[in-house]
């Protein structure tokens, strides 16, 4: 993958995250707004860039990896709920990354590697 494509993916991914977060900021009530914090912003941007640069077939392994990662994201969200209740947002939501690594990493080793 060229450095230009990697840089472009980062740029478009960052813009997509800002776009979805603005939709979330306008949303109410808060739980509804929270849906947009788990929007597929980076995925949408990255898959679209891969399609343009390498064609649709090249995106399939990315989508397979993402499906595994999204199981980790569900685990992360559930654990972060428990931890935010006890440790506040910053510590709770960072510690919950361990749940993502455990579930996504574990599943990847079992089925995706």
């Amino acid at each position: 993958m060229s450095i230009a494509l990697i840089g472009l993916k980062a740029l478009v991914g960052g813009c997509a995250v800002v776009g979805f977060s603005l939709i979330g900021q306008a949303g109410h009530p808060k739980r509804f707004a929270g849906l947009f914090s788990a929007a597929p912003s980076v995925a949408l941007a990255s898959l679209a860039m891969t399609v343009v640069a390498k064609g649709p077939r090249a995106t399939l392994p990315y989508a397979q990896g993402m499906l595994i990662g999204s199981a980790g994201m569900v685990a992360y969200s559930l654990v972060s709920l428990l931890l935010i209740n006890r440790l506040h947002a910053l510590v709770g939501s960072i510690l919950a990354w361990l749940a993502w690594f455990a579930v996504a990493g574990g599943l990847y080793l079992v089925v995706g590697g």
């Binding site: 993958m1 990697i6 840089g7 993916k9 478009v12 991914g13 960052g14 997509a16 995250v17 800002v18 977060s21 603005l22 939709i23 900021q25 306008a26 949303g27 109410h28 009530p29 808060k30 739980r31 509804f32 707004a33 849906l35 914090s37 788990a38 597929p40 980076v42 995925a43 949408l44 941007a45 990255s46 898959l47 679209a48 399609v51 649709p56 077939r57 399939l60 392994p61 990315y62 989508a63 397979q64 990896g65 993402m66 499906l67 990662g69 999204s70 569900v74 992360y76 969200s77 972060s80 709920l81 935010i84 209740n85 506040h88 947002a89 960072i94 990354w97 993502w100 990847y108 995706g112």
Partner: protein, 149 residues
């Protein structure tokens, strides 16, 4: 956490107040851009080094959430941050629907596949949100989690 504040928040109508965007601060947007762009960069580099399936994992990594939740907690309190995170659980289930739909359709027509996958995310996460809201599942979940503290 304030149970009454959560209930009051849930009673609010569902929609978008676009005038709130006037209050969006450039430094906060920059933080989101940096974390969002950062994880896209990590995914692309990981794909280059370890293969696209491994890189794809990071397309569903919650890189922006700690910063976003911390900003909400700082401005509106822990209860609102928790409410946002509780919506995030349903959004994450929708994310799996996005990946599954994209995987099924990308080979045929990528533009349509990504549009339908985005629709799948919206329908699954939005559908679950209304299911939880209308059936009182949010209330049940709040009680269980507050009790477990």
């Amino acid at each position: 956490m304030d149970g009454r504040q959560l209930r009051d928040d849930d009673l609010e109508s569902v929609g978008f107040d676009w005038s709130k965007l006037r209050k969006a601060s450039p430094p906060e947007l920059l933080i989101r851009f940096v974390f969002g762009g950062g994880i896209a960069l990590v995914a692309a580099i990981a794909a280059s080094v370890f293969g696209p399936r491994f890189g794809g994992l990071f397309l569903a990594f919650p890189a922006v959430l700690p910063a976003a939740l911390t900003l909400i907690e700082k401005k509106e309190g822990t209860t609102k941050a928790w409410a946002d995170a509780s919506g995030g659980v349903l959004g994450a289930i929708g994310l799996a629907a996005f990946a599954f739909t994209a995987l099924q359709l990308l080979r045929a027509n990528p533009a349509v596949a990504l549009a339908v996958a985005l629709l799948a995310w919206l329908l699954v996460s939005g559908g679950l949100y209304f299911l939880f809201r209308e059936t009182g599942l949010f209330l049940w979940q709040d009680k269980r989690l507050m009790k477990s503290r």
